[in-house]
Amino acid sequence: MANIIQIVKDRFGDLVLDSHSQHGDDTVIVNKNSILEIMQWLRDNEATNFNFLMDLTAVDYLGKGKDMRFEVVYHLYSLENNIRLRVKAGVTEEDATINSLAPLWKGADWYEREVYDLYGILFIGHPNMKRILLYEGFEGHPLRKDYPIDKRQPLIGPDN
Protein backbone atom coordinates (compact mmCIF):
# COMPACT_ATOMS: atom_id res chain seq x y z
CA MET A 1 0.00 0.00 0.00
CA ALA A 2 1.64 3.20 -1.12
CA ASN A 3 1.86 6.10 1.23
CA ILE A 4 -1.58 7.67 1.55
CA ILE A 5 -0.20 11.19 1.89
CA GLN A 6 1.69 10.74 -1.37
CA ILE A 7 -1.48 9.59 -3.11
CA VAL A 8 -3.37 12.68 -1.97
CA LYS A 9 -0.54 15.00 -2.95
CA ASP A 10 -0.23 13.43 -6.40
CA ARG A 11 -3.91 13.95 -7.04
CA PHE A 12 -4.43 17.41 -5.59
CA GLY A 13 -1.05 19.05 -5.72
CA ASP A 14 -1.17 22.57 -4.42
CA LEU A 15 -4.52 22.22 -2.63
CA VAL A 16 -2.68 20.29 0.08
CA LEU A 17 -1.05 22.96 2.20
CA ASP A 18 0.86 20.75 4.60
CA SER A 19 1.20 17.19 5.79
CA HIS A 20 2.89 15.19 8.51
CA SER A 21 2.95 11.74 10.06
CA GLN A 22 3.49 12.36 13.74
CA HIS A 23 3.02 9.28 15.96
CA GLY A 24 2.09 7.22 12.94
CA ASP A 25 -1.05 9.27 12.13
CA ASP A 26 -1.14 10.48 8.53
CA THR A 27 -2.38 14.05 8.42
CA VAL A 28 -2.98 16.45 5.54
CA ILE A 29 -3.90 20.08 5.92
CA VAL A 30 -6.00 21.45 3.09
CA ASN A 31 -7.69 24.62 1.97
CA LYS A 32 -11.25 24.78 3.21
CA ASN A 33 -12.71 25.89 -0.13
CA SER A 34 -11.86 22.59 -1.79
CA ILE A 35 -12.88 20.34 1.09
CA LEU A 36 -15.96 18.94 -0.64
CA GLU A 37 -14.06 17.98 -3.78
CA ILE A 38 -11.22 16.37 -1.83
CA MET A 39 -13.56 14.38 0.44
CA GLN A 40 -15.63 13.17 -2.47
CA TRP A 41 -12.55 11.89 -4.23
CA LEU A 42 -11.20 10.25 -1.08
CA ARG A 43 -14.49 8.45 -0.55
CA ASP A 44 -15.10 7.32 -4.11
CA ASN A 45 -11.83 6.26 -5.71
CA GLU A 46 -10.83 2.61 -5.45
CA ALA A 47 -7.30 3.11 -4.19
CA THR A 48 -8.28 4.79 -0.94
CA ASN A 49 -12.05 4.06 -0.57
CA PHE A 50 -12.62 5.96 2.70
CA ASN A 51 -16.16 4.91 3.42
CA PHE A 52 -16.19 5.58 7.17
CA LEU A 53 -16.10 9.11 8.59
CA MET A 54 -14.96 8.35 12.13
CA ASP A 55 -14.94 11.81 13.64
CA LEU A 56 -15.55 15.44 12.80
CA THR A 57 -14.52 18.06 15.29
CA ALA A 58 -12.85 21.45 15.60
CA VAL A 59 -10.00 23.11 17.51
CA ASP A 60 -9.73 26.71 18.69
CA TYR A 61 -6.20 28.12 18.48
CA LEU A 62 -6.92 31.52 20.03
CA GLY A 63 -3.77 33.11 21.40
CA LYS A 64 -1.40 30.51 19.92
CA GLY A 65 -0.17 32.69 17.08
CA LYS A 66 -1.82 30.89 14.16
CA ASP A 67 -3.29 32.94 11.33
CA MET A 68 -6.46 30.81 11.14
CA ARG A 69 -8.28 30.67 14.47
CA PHE A 70 -10.23 27.45 14.04
CA GLU A 71 -9.34 24.17 12.44
CA VAL A 72 -11.99 21.62 11.47
CA VAL A 73 -10.57 18.10 11.81
CA TYR A 74 -11.90 15.04 9.96
CA HIS A 75 -10.88 11.46 10.72
CA LEU A 76 -11.39 9.02 7.87
CA TYR A 77 -11.11 5.25 7.86
CA SER A 78 -11.31 2.72 5.06
CA LEU A 79 -12.91 -0.57 6.06
CA GLU A 80 -11.60 -2.58 3.12
CA ASN A 81 -8.04 -1.24 3.06
CA ASN A 82 -7.62 -0.62 6.81
CA ILE A 83 -6.01 2.78 6.40
CA ARG A 84 -6.67 5.96 8.34
CA LEU A 85 -6.27 9.57 7.39
CA ARG A 86 -6.76 12.84 9.23
CA VAL A 87 -7.76 15.90 7.20
CA LYS A 88 -7.57 19.36 8.72
CA ALA A 89 -8.98 22.56 7.23
CA GLY A 90 -8.24 25.97 8.69
CA VAL A 91 -11.16 28.34 9.25
CA THR A 92 -10.78 32.02 10.08
CA GLU A 93 -12.73 33.83 12.75
CA GLU A 94 -14.24 36.42 10.39
CA ASP A 95 -15.56 33.88 7.93
CA ALA A 96 -16.39 30.94 10.22
CA THR A 97 -18.05 28.80 7.55
CA ILE A 98 -17.13 25.64 5.71
CA ASN A 99 -18.92 23.30 3.35
CA SER A 100 -20.94 20.56 4.97
CA LEU A 101 -20.11 16.92 4.41
CA ALA A 102 -23.62 15.72 5.18
CA PRO A 103 -24.34 14.86 1.52
CA LEU A 104 -21.36 12.48 1.51
CA TRP A 105 -21.60 10.75 4.90
CA LYS A 106 -24.79 10.64 6.92
CA GLY A 107 -22.79 10.57 10.14
CA ALA A 108 -21.46 14.06 9.49
CA ASP A 109 -24.90 15.49 10.23
CA TRP A 110 -24.80 15.37 14.04
CA TYR A 111 -21.05 15.97 14.28
CA GLU A 112 -21.45 19.23 12.40
CA ARG A 113 -24.38 20.27 14.58
CA GLU A 114 -22.20 19.66 17.64
CA VAL A 115 -19.35 21.76 16.17
CA TYR A 116 -21.81 24.55 15.38
CA ASP A 117 -23.27 24.36 18.87
CA LEU A 118 -19.98 24.52 20.73
CA TYR A 119 -17.71 26.55 18.39
CA GLY A 120 -20.03 28.57 16.20
CA ILE A 121 -18.71 27.36 12.83
CA LEU A 122 -21.49 27.32 10.24
CA PHE A 123 -21.72 24.46 7.77
CA ILE A 124 -23.05 25.51 4.37
CA GLY A 125 -25.47 23.04 2.88
CA HIS A 126 -26.31 21.30 6.12
CA PRO A 127 -29.95 20.07 6.18
CA ASN A 128 -30.68 20.97 9.80
CA MET A 129 -28.24 23.56 11.16
CA LYS A 130 -29.26 24.11 14.75
CA ARG A 131 -28.00 23.38 18.24
CA ILE A 132 -27.89 19.78 19.36
CA LEU A 133 -26.57 19.63 22.93
CA LEU A 134 -27.49 22.97 24.45
CA TYR A 135 -30.95 24.46 24.70
CA GLU A 136 -32.38 26.86 22.13
CA GLY A 137 -32.00 30.17 23.97
CA PHE A 138 -28.37 29.57 24.89
CA GLU A 139 -26.14 32.58 24.29
CA GLY A 140 -22.67 31.99 22.97
CA HIS A 141 -20.52 29.05 22.01
CA PRO A 142 -18.98 27.47 25.10
CA LEU A 143 -15.91 25.64 23.77
CA ARG A 144 -14.37 28.80 22.33
CA LYS A 145 -11.39 29.91 24.34
CA ASP A 146 -12.89 33.33 25.08
CA TYR A 147 -16.09 32.01 26.66
CA PRO A 148 -15.87 32.98 30.37
CA ILE A 149 -15.81 29.94 32.59
CA ASP A 150 -18.30 31.30 35.11
CA LYS A 151 -20.81 32.86 32.75
CA ARG A 152 -24.41 32.19 33.74
CA GLN A 153 -27.04 31.66 31.11
CA PRO A 154 -30.28 33.68 31.14
CA LEU A 155 -32.76 30.85 31.39
CA ILE A 156 -32.43 29.58 34.96
CA GLY A 157 -29.85 29.25 37.67
CA PRO A 158 -28.66 31.86 40.16
CA ASP A 159 -27.37 35.12 38.77
CA ASN A 160 -23.65 35.60 38.57
Binding site: L134, Y135, F138, P142, I149, D150, L155, I156, G157, P158
Partner: protein, 188 residues
Protein backbone atom coordinates in the same frame (compact mmCIF):
# COMPACT_ATOMS: atom_id res chain seq x y z
CA UNK B 1 -41.16 34.40 42.94
CA UNK B 2 -41.97 32.49 46.10
CA UNK B 3 -44.31 29.59 46.40
CA UNK B 4 -47.10 30.72 48.68
CA UNK B 5 -50.59 29.52 49.49
CA UNK B 6 -51.84 33.06 48.88
CA UNK B 7 -50.99 32.82 45.19
CA UNK B 8 -53.55 30.12 44.58
CA UNK B 9 -56.85 30.98 43.04
CA UNK B 10 -58.99 28.14 44.19
CA UNK B 11 -59.50 27.15 47.78
CA UNK B 12 -59.46 23.46 47.06
CA UNK B 13 -57.70 22.29 50.23
CA UNK B 14 -59.12 19.65 52.44
CA UNK B 15 -60.45 22.23 54.87
CA UNK B 16 -61.54 25.72 53.83
CA UNK B 17 -59.08 28.35 54.98
CA UNK B 18 -61.74 30.54 56.45
CA UNK B 19 -63.00 27.69 58.61
CA UNK B 20 -59.43 26.95 59.65
CA UNK B 21 -58.68 30.48 60.72
CA UNK B 22 -62.08 30.91 62.36
CA UNK B 23 -61.64 27.88 64.55
CA UNK B 24 -57.90 28.71 64.84
CA UNK B 25 -56.03 25.66 65.99
CA UNK B 26 -58.98 23.68 67.21
CA UNK B 27 -58.28 20.27 68.66
CA UNK B 28 -60.44 18.34 66.22
CA UNK B 29 -58.78 19.66 63.10
CA UNK B 30 -55.25 19.12 64.41
CA UNK B 31 -56.10 15.51 65.22
CA UNK B 32 -57.54 15.01 61.74
CA UNK B 33 -54.39 16.50 60.29
CA UNK B 34 -52.28 14.13 62.34
CA UNK B 35 -54.15 11.09 61.07
CA UNK B 36 -53.87 12.27 57.50
CA UNK B 37 -50.19 13.01 57.97
CA UNK B 38 -49.66 9.55 59.44
CA UNK B 39 -51.32 7.96 56.46
CA UNK B 40 -49.39 10.03 53.92
CA UNK B 41 -45.97 9.57 55.43
CA UNK B 42 -46.13 5.78 55.39
CA UNK B 43 -47.38 5.47 51.82
CA UNK B 44 -45.23 7.52 49.50
CA UNK B 45 -45.59 6.76 45.81
CA UNK B 46 -42.22 7.64 44.37
CA UNK B 47 -41.50 9.19 41.01
CA UNK B 48 -37.79 8.51 40.59
CA UNK B 49 -36.68 11.15 38.08
CA UNK B 50 -33.31 9.54 37.40
CA UNK B 51 -30.84 11.02 34.95
CA UNK B 52 -27.31 10.04 36.03
CA UNK B 53 -25.01 8.08 38.33
CA UNK B 54 -27.04 8.65 41.49
CA UNK B 55 -29.54 6.33 39.85
CA UNK B 56 -27.22 3.42 40.49
CA UNK B 57 -27.24 4.23 44.17
CA UNK B 58 -31.01 4.65 44.07
CA UNK B 59 -31.26 1.14 42.68
CA UNK B 60 -29.34 -0.19 45.65
CA UNK B 61 -31.51 1.88 47.99
CA UNK B 62 -34.55 0.16 46.52
CA UNK B 63 -32.85 -3.24 46.57
CA UNK B 64 -33.11 -5.87 49.27
CA UNK B 65 -30.14 -4.90 51.44
CA UNK B 66 -31.11 -1.26 52.00
CA UNK B 67 -34.80 -1.60 51.57
CA UNK B 68 -37.01 1.38 50.91
CA UNK B 69 -40.05 -0.87 51.24
CA UNK B 70 -39.59 -0.78 55.01
CA UNK B 71 -40.84 2.80 54.88
CA UNK B 72 -43.84 1.95 52.78
CA UNK B 73 -42.33 3.73 49.81
CA UNK B 74 -41.68 0.71 47.64
CA UNK B 75 -43.74 1.26 44.54
CA UNK B 76 -42.34 3.67 41.98
CA UNK B 77 -45.02 5.12 39.79
CA UNK B 78 -43.59 6.17 36.46
CA UNK B 79 -46.50 8.41 35.72
CA UNK B 80 -46.60 11.78 37.47
CA UNK B 81 -50.37 11.62 37.72
CA UNK B 82 -50.10 8.69 40.13
CA UNK B 83 -47.09 9.76 42.18
CA UNK B 84 -46.67 12.05 45.14
CA UNK B 85 -42.96 12.06 45.97
CA UNK B 86 -40.74 13.40 43.18
CA UNK B 87 -37.21 12.14 43.81
CA UNK B 88 -34.85 14.05 41.52
CA UNK B 89 -31.78 11.86 41.05
CA UNK B 90 -28.79 12.89 38.98
CA UNK B 91 -27.51 15.97 37.17
CA UNK B 92 -30.11 18.23 35.64
CA UNK B 93 -28.91 20.13 32.58
CA UNK B 94 -30.48 23.29 31.25
CA UNK B 95 -32.04 21.27 28.46
CA UNK B 96 -33.64 18.87 30.93
CA UNK B 97 -34.97 21.55 33.28
CA UNK B 98 -38.22 22.35 31.41
CA UNK B 99 -39.00 18.64 31.34
CA UNK B 100 -38.51 18.36 35.09
CA UNK B 101 -40.66 21.40 35.69
CA UNK B 102 -43.39 19.99 33.48
CA UNK B 103 -43.33 16.67 35.36
CA UNK B 104 -43.61 18.50 38.68
CA UNK B 105 -46.58 20.52 37.46
CA UNK B 106 -48.31 17.39 36.25
CA UNK B 107 -48.25 15.80 39.66
CA UNK B 108 -51.34 16.16 41.80
CA UNK B 109 -51.11 17.77 45.21
CA UNK B 110 -50.04 16.93 47.90
CA UNK B 111 -46.57 16.37 46.50
CA UNK B 112 -43.08 16.64 47.87
CA UNK B 113 -39.67 16.97 46.23
CA UNK B 114 -36.65 15.04 47.42
CA UNK B 115 -33.30 16.33 46.13
CA UNK B 116 -31.03 13.27 45.90
CA UNK B 117 -27.35 13.91 45.37
CA UNK B 118 -24.96 16.84 45.15
CA UNK B 119 -25.75 17.71 41.53
CA UNK B 120 -29.38 18.21 42.36
CA UNK B 121 -28.82 20.16 45.58
CA UNK B 122 -26.37 22.69 44.17
CA UNK B 123 -24.97 21.67 40.82
CA UNK B 124 -22.36 19.44 42.46
CA UNK B 125 -18.96 19.41 40.81
CA UNK B 126 -20.44 20.76 37.54
CA UNK B 127 -20.10 24.51 37.97
CA UNK B 128 -20.36 25.16 34.20
CA UNK B 129 -22.52 26.43 31.37
CA UNK B 130 -24.75 23.42 31.04
CA UNK B 131 -25.86 22.39 34.55
CA UNK B 132 -28.63 23.84 36.67
CA UNK B 133 -26.97 25.06 39.87
CA UNK B 134 -29.46 23.49 42.23
CA UNK B 135 -33.00 22.28 41.70
CA UNK B 136 -34.38 24.87 44.09
CA UNK B 137 -33.97 27.49 41.38
CA UNK B 138 -36.87 25.85 39.53
CA UNK B 139 -38.82 23.74 42.03
CA UNK B 140 -39.75 23.97 45.71
CA UNK B 141 -37.62 21.34 47.46
CA UNK B 142 -38.51 19.73 50.77
CA UNK B 143 -35.46 17.60 51.60
CA UNK B 144 -31.87 17.95 50.43
CA UNK B 145 -29.61 14.90 50.63
CA UNK B 146 -26.04 15.75 49.58
CA UNK B 147 -23.44 13.21 48.59
CA UNK B 148 -21.82 11.93 45.45
CA UNK B 149 -23.65 9.59 45.60
CA UNK B 150 -25.20 9.70 49.07
CA UNK B 151 -24.92 6.52 51.13
CA UNK B 152 -28.24 4.68 51.44
CA UNK B 153 -28.23 5.36 55.15
CA UNK B 154 -28.15 9.09 54.40
CA UNK B 155 -31.04 8.69 52.01
CA UNK B 156 -33.09 7.04 54.70
CA UNK B 157 -32.17 9.78 57.14
CA UNK B 158 -33.54 12.27 54.63
CA UNK B 159 -36.63 10.17 54.11
CA UNK B 160 -37.29 10.01 57.85
CA UNK B 161 -36.92 13.79 58.06
CA UNK B 162 -39.38 14.10 55.21
CA UNK B 163 -41.75 11.84 57.10
CA UNK B 164 -41.51 14.13 60.12
CA UNK B 165 -42.30 17.07 57.87
CA UNK B 166 -45.30 15.30 56.37
CA UNK B 167 -46.58 14.28 59.79
CA UNK B 168 -46.56 17.84 61.07
CA UNK B 169 -48.15 19.43 58.02
CA UNK B 170 -51.36 21.39 58.30
CA UNK B 171 -53.95 20.76 55.66
CA UNK B 172 -54.05 24.47 54.89
CA UNK B 173 -50.64 24.11 53.31
CA UNK B 174 -52.19 22.67 50.16
CA UNK B 175 -52.57 23.59 47.30
CA UNK B 176 -49.08 25.00 46.98
CA UNK B 177 -49.16 26.12 43.37
CA UNK B 178 -47.07 25.68 40.27
CA UNK B 179 -43.31 25.61 40.08
CA UNK B 180 -41.76 29.09 39.80
CA UNK B 181 -40.03 28.21 36.52
CA UNK B 182 -42.50 27.61 33.72
CA UNK B 183 -41.24 25.94 30.53
CA UNK B 184 -41.51 28.25 27.56
CA UNK B 185 -43.89 27.51 24.75
CA UNK B 186 -42.09 26.30 21.65
CA UNK B 187 -42.00 28.87 18.87
CA UNK B 188 -43.79 27.44 15.86
Amino acid sequence: MAIDSKDNVSNAGFVDKRVETALSESVILTQVDKVIGWGRKYSFFLYPFITACCGMEFMSVAGPRYDIDRFGAALPRFSPRQADLLIVVGTISHKQAPILSKVYNQMAEPKWVFAYGACVCSGGMYDNYATVQGIDTILPVDVYVPGCPPRPEMVFDGLIKLQDLVQNERSSKWPRGQAPYMPREKKA
